[in-house]
């Protein structure tokens, strides 16, 4: 690897240090549990960031793909006794095939029309989770989903699961970092920048949109798989369309033009409600207010805001350096 490319991995390295050090200081089940959710939602939001921030396409159906991943794996392990690690590729495969057909039929739509179409798809999936009672257990839920095991070690505590989730998050961030800094990432951003121009330079934009859509659904499916085998229980209520909106909000508030926005957004929107619990009735209002304030002051989200602050700091240090070196 060339030295010049090393700065691409700065984010991955920082995250590696933070997630490794975290459990040495904070070990309460409650906090570790929260961090597991931050990890699961980060993967989901990352898929949406690629779709929305890079390829410029919106989806309000992510909770549906999240649910497909969770239910396929849940059903295969509970009803058919399949090993979860065998169920994972099947879950991702089924989600990807569904996403391909949905993308193929909806991605010629633009903006709000695409949002509406994907919203509809998400709602259809939710109805299926409720109504296919024989498979999903309906509103009562699907119980006794087995926990994951790695090399004979059962991941039955929050802390063990925490390490698995964040290992996967780091791995995915590493891969996605490579991807966005390549021909493929530039192709995606070109579509968002100017679709017609991107076509004239060889980007088959429709094909690209479908691929990114499938990729985002696959990441949602992976999140669903992790959720199912962490909570060991599935009920349709966590896959309804309000979650699709929550995931989209994470992406936008976090900053959709940077893959790290997904991490910031998922962290803020997972921890903030917990933090605000002490304010009882006011919490929803404060939650809304924080979102509005973030978006007013950083219209490119938290990642965009951080980017500007870091650049300011850097130029200030450079000036101090110039003054002290007498130039």
């Amino acid at each position: 690897m060339k030295k010049g490319n090393l700065h691409h991995y700065r984010g991955v390295l920082i995250l590696l240090v933070i997630t490794t050090v975290f459990p040495f200081f904070i070990r309460s089940h409650y906090h570790v549990n929260l961090m597991v959710f931050v990890g699961i939602y980060t993967l989901l939001a990352l898929g949406l960031t690629l779709l929305l921030g890079y390829a410029g396409q919106v989806s309000l159906g992510q909770a549906g793909f999240y649910g497909i991943g969770a239910y396929v794996s849940g059903i295969l392990t509970v009803k058919f006794g399949i090993n979860p690690w065998m169920a994972l590729p099947i879950a991702i495969g089924i989600t990807s095939i569904l996403a391909f057909f949905i993308g193929f039929s909806t991605l010629h739509l633009k903006g709000l029309y695409l949002a509406m179409a994907t919203l509809g798809v998400g709602i259809i999936f939710h109805i299926l989770f409720v109504e296919l009672k024989d498979l999903t257990g309906g509103a009562i839920g699907l119980m006794d989903i087995p926990s994951l095991s790695i090399a004979g070690i059962k991941l039955d505590t929050d802390l063990k699961f925490y390490f698995l989730v964040w290992f996967i998050v780091l791995l995915i961030f590493f891969l996605v970092t490579n991807m966005v800094n390549s021909r493929v990432g530039r192709g995606m951003r070109a579509i968002q920048g100017n679709e017609l121009a991107s076509n004239c330079f060889g980007v088959d934009s429709f094909k690209y949109k479908i691929k990114v859509f499938v990729l985002s659904a696959a990441l949602a499916s992976l999140s669903g798989f992790l959720y199912a085998h962490y909570i060991n229980f599935l009920s349709p209520s966590v896959f309804d369309f309000s979650f699709s909106i929550l995931f989209l909000t994470m992406t936008i508030v976090g900053g959709r033009e940077s893959i790290w926005g997904a991490l910031y957004g998922a962290t803020l929107l997972t921890l903030l409600p917990e933090f605000l619990r002490r304010y009882e009735d006011l919490n929803v209002m404060i939650w809304g207010l924080v979102l509005v304030v973030v978006l007013i002051f950083f219209n490119r989200g938290i990642a965009g805001g951080l980017d500007i602050s870091i650049k300011k700091l850097e130029s200030r240090f450079r000036k101090i350096g110039e003054i002290s070196s007498g130039t």
Binding site: M1, N178, G187, R189, K211, E257
Partner: protein, 255 residues
Amino acid sequence: MTAEDVQKSFGGLVAINRLSFTLEEGQIKSIIGPNGAGKTTLLNLIMGVYSPETGNIVFDNHRIERLKPYQIASLGISRTFQTIALFENMSVIENVMVGRHVRTRSEFFSNSFLLRRARIEEAAIARIAWEKLDLVGIKERGLEAATALTFAEQRLLEIARALATDPRLILLDEPAAGLNMTEIKMISHLVRRIRAQGVTVILVEHQMDLVMDISDEILVLNYGTKIAEGKPDVIQNNQEVITAYLGEKIEIAKD
């Protein structure tokens, strides 16, 4: 390249009317005509942004009139845009790198996992993109945001991005519009250099000095119809062309 009997209309308006012309390899051919004559529409037909209702366009023995822009790009046609159409969400060099898209293959998987062939291809993309940026003379601005460039530099970047596709035919849509005399000279020089590298050029331009100076042949459009075609000196003295540009001479009765 040949166009034969090509027609395109928008609603009731005939933008290109039964147009035929031939383009020799290595030529600089200019297309001129008053505003609304159909010049940009013609470029969009060649590039595949629109498909003609009748007629055919043949490039290098391929019928291209039904192909999509990205397919036509891979055959070796590239373009710049009259209203600058850079990727404003990217840096200058990344804009040029997108131009290599059509000549490269690596996909999601090989790039994510840094497979050897993806890394080799990525290095080649960067090298060629910097070369093209150097060719148009804005290499030193490569790492800045595309939006940070001056207007003239943005026009140059458009050309660099088009050149990155290794075109055999480049369509330049008013590359000198809005530029001053020095900058126009620069463009003129650049177009000659592009041709010297064996690239055929179609130039749509209003700057007559530039057109007369560098064109091998000129095609004049008016209301989508070809009214003249020939060498610059012939076109300059063509009565119909003068009429289209300046209007009919009216005899004023003297008393």
